[in-house]
């Protein structure tokens, strides 16, 4: 299985402000009643984007000028709460290809990496700079450079870091670990014999 080397993502950005944005908010539980991840994209941030009657609420993702954005910017502890992979799946299927935030909840971060969706961490001040530039010009191209761990936009560059194991997995095309895990099967069999509770 050959995976894409995700070294860099370029496209327009959108800033969804706030800290502690939980995965229930990213994809409400009622949309998890499905046996496939297909079609989840349209429900991303559903309850903060729509009123119960279906009309639109003020939200950056509802603004025509931010349609087609590939880079999502947000605050601290992004993706906290439920382990539902439906959240990164919805973000990815909506069209996002990278996230830049102040920080991430652990399970969400791991789920994103496994899907080849880079999550980079930047300081609040730096994210505010990108957000301001996007606000001034929503067409601005933003480049998230996973290899160099930086974000470039309109002649500016900010530092954006990533845990080395995740960065390595993305840039070297081994973010989906299944092939490598399968290769370890002989060692798994040996180790399992040392753990009595695994006896069949």
């Amino acid at each position: 299985m050959s995976l894409a080397k995700i070294t860099s993502v370029a496209g327009r950005g959108v800033y969804v402000a706030g800290n502690d944005i939980d995965t229930d908010r990213i994809i409400p539980a009622r949309f998890m009643k499905c046996v496939s991840f297909d079609g989840l994209g349209e429900f991303v941030f559903f309850d903060v984007r729509k009123n119960p009657d279906g009309s639109a609420k003020p939200h950056p993702l509802n603004e025509p000028r931010f349609q087609g954005a590939k880079i999502l910017l947000s605050g601290a502890n992004f993706g906290c709460g439920s382990s539902r992979e439906h959240a990164p799946q919805a973000i990815q299927k909506y069209g996002f290809r990278a996230i830049v935030a102040e920080g991430y909840a652990e399970i969400f971060f791991g789920n994103c990496t496994t899907l080849g969706l880079p999550c980079l961490t930047a300081s609040r001040e730096d994210i505010a700079k990108v957000a301001a530039a996007i606000e001034a010009n929503p067409q601005l191209e933003v480049t998230v450079d996973v290899t160099a761990q930086e974000v470039r936009f309109g002649g500016q560059t900010i530092k954006a870091t990533m845990r080395e194991s995740a960065r390595d997995a993305l840039v070297n095309g081994r973010w989906d670990s299944i092939a490598e895990l399968l290769e370890g099967a002989p060692q798994v069999q040996v180790l399992a014999k040392s753990l009595p509770y695994l006896a069949a």
Partner: protein
């Protein structure tokens, strides 16, 4: 060298280092349920893979089950489709399924311990963030996403980076009317909802040593709400006594060997922790949330924070956002806040001792007019135990609707939902916006007895006053 339980379990389950520096970790026990597993089985089929260790994979159905309907087909065709998918996947891949007809079905984090599947010194994964619950037994238990479920199904391993360990000591004695739920809400309030990022929490000290296994599960359950990927308590005689005689517990001579092995996993005296936090039990009050995350919590006697009380711009913004959503007046007492719904149940507080404690105090009393009160046992076995003790009858007579086992209104993937901006007094684990099924619904988290006090008075109340709690 002295090691923590986390380190010992990690070392014992390390298969090898992966190219990116992560560890390939053997997952001894894999628990699955209907919501996060169907896509993983689909991926297995696409890759033409089998389940590596079907005998170490256990399934149940909990999130979508209607609690007022046992017969199939369910009214909701999507719920039925998920039920059918799990049943088919388990049959096809040879996985044990605690179906509703088995009498052993329930919330996955209640079923594992109940069956004796959850054991000390083991690794556990489940596609549910509250998998941290199993840490109560001295297991290292991880909530995972669906692609990782595929990994565990196919290889019985997953790729993971090691965690740091923070020891959280709660010293002294809890005051009367203060429960395990209050302890964990207090910890999250103190350390923050992302304070545990990068850590496993080791809960230690007299308070946890005295707790029953069910109380320990309540604490470990909410580790994830504090941002910790895992939480655990070192195994001791309480742990072994709980496990003895359960269906999947070791038997006969194997039992003694297992206990000896389990003991060896406990953290060594003098082992190094990355951080240590100490909390005095006497400072913990019955704790309730007032906002939109579990860290936004106060003692029941305290007032709802004002934006002006914030110590940072961040905190101020979250207070403003929470107050706007909750429609609460800043600076007013939380006590007296009118509630519409009372929910007893969930993987946090849906066990026998939770209902037993409530029944002890509500016997002969009535739920306030206008309050919808739900009591949802966490498993069919909990329901049976409650029936044997007459707890179902006591709660029904008090005005609670006694339901079938499931996750129910904790996340409202079944028909049990808040309506509009109803306020719910809930023994569950999350007060996120819209969590209990209505996009504008409001949740106040608290201990089961506090839920009972709210149900009986129709408002947030101090259970110690409502019930004259003294023991």
């Amino acid at each position: 060298m002295a090691k923590s339980l986390f380190q010992k379990v990690w070392d014992a389950h390390t298969v090898r280092q992966l190219a990116n520096g992560q560890t390939q970790l053997l997952i001894g026990t894999h628990l699955i349920h209907e919501v996060t597993s169907p896509q993983a089985f689909g991926m297995l089929r696409d890759l033409k893979l089998k389940v590596a260790m079907p005998h170490r994979t256990f399934a149940t159905v909990d999130h979508i089950v209607p609690t007022d309907q046992f017969a199939e087909p369910y009214a909701d065709p999507l719920a039925q489709a998920m039920m059918d998918a799990l049943r088919k996947n388990c049959a096809e891949f040879g996985v044990t399924f605690f179906d509703r007809a088995s009498g052993k079905q329930g919330v996955v984090h209640i079923v594992g311990p109940e069956q004796g599947i959850t054991q000390p010194g083991t690794t556990i994964a489940c596609g549910d963030s509250h998998t941290s619950t199993h840490g109560a037994f001295g297991a290292i238990a991880f909530g995972i996403g669906t692609t990782q479920i595929r990994d565990v199904l196919a290889t019985q391993t997953m790729a993971l980076g090691a965690l740091k360990v923070r020891r959280i000591e709660v010293t002294g004695k809890l005051r009367p009317g203060v429960y395990a739920k209050d302890v964990i809400l207090h910890i999250i309030r103190t350390l923050g909802v992302n304070g545990g990022t990068g850590f496993a929490y080791e809960y230690a000290g007299e308070v946890f040593e005295r707790m029953s296994m069910e109380e320990r599960m309540t604490v470990c359950n909410m580790s994830i709400e504090g941002g910790a990927r895992a939480g655990y308590i070192n195994p001791d005689e309480t742990t072994f006594a709980y496990l003895k005689g359960r269906p999947y517990s070791p038997k006969g001579a194997e039992w003694d060997a297992a206990v000896a092995r389990w003991k060896s996993f406990a953290s060594d005296v003098g082992c190094k922790y990355d951080d240590v936090v100490t909390i005095a039990a006497a400072t913990i009050e019955p704790t309730v949330t007032w906002g939109i995350n579990p860290g936004q919590a106060i003692g029941v006697g305290e007032c709802i924070p004002t934006p002006a009380s914030a110590t940072s711009a961040d905190e101020k913004a979250s207070i403003v956002e929470a107050l706007e959503y909750m429609k609460f007046a800043p600076g007013s007492p939380i006590k007296g806040t009118k509630i519409d719904v009372a929910f007893l149940g969930s993987c946090t507080n849906g066990r026998l001792s939770d209902f037993e404690e409530v029944a002890k105090y509500v016997k002969g009393r009535k739920v306030a007019p206008g309050v919808k009160a739900l009591a949802v046992p966490g498993s069919q076995i909990v329901a049976l135990q409650c029936a044997k003790l007459g707890i179902d009858k006591i709660l029904s007579e008090a005005g609670f609707e006694w339901r079938e086992a499931g996750c129910s209104m904790c996340l409202a993937m079944n028909p049990d939902k808040l309506i509009g901006d109803q306020v719910s007094a809930s023994s569950s684990n999350r007060n996120f916006k819209g969590r209990q099924g209505s996009p504008t619904g409001r949740t106040i988290l608290m201990s089961p007895l506090m839920v009972a006090a709210a149900a009986l008075t129709g408002k947030v109340a101090d259970a110690r006053e409502v019930f004259q709690v003294s023991n």
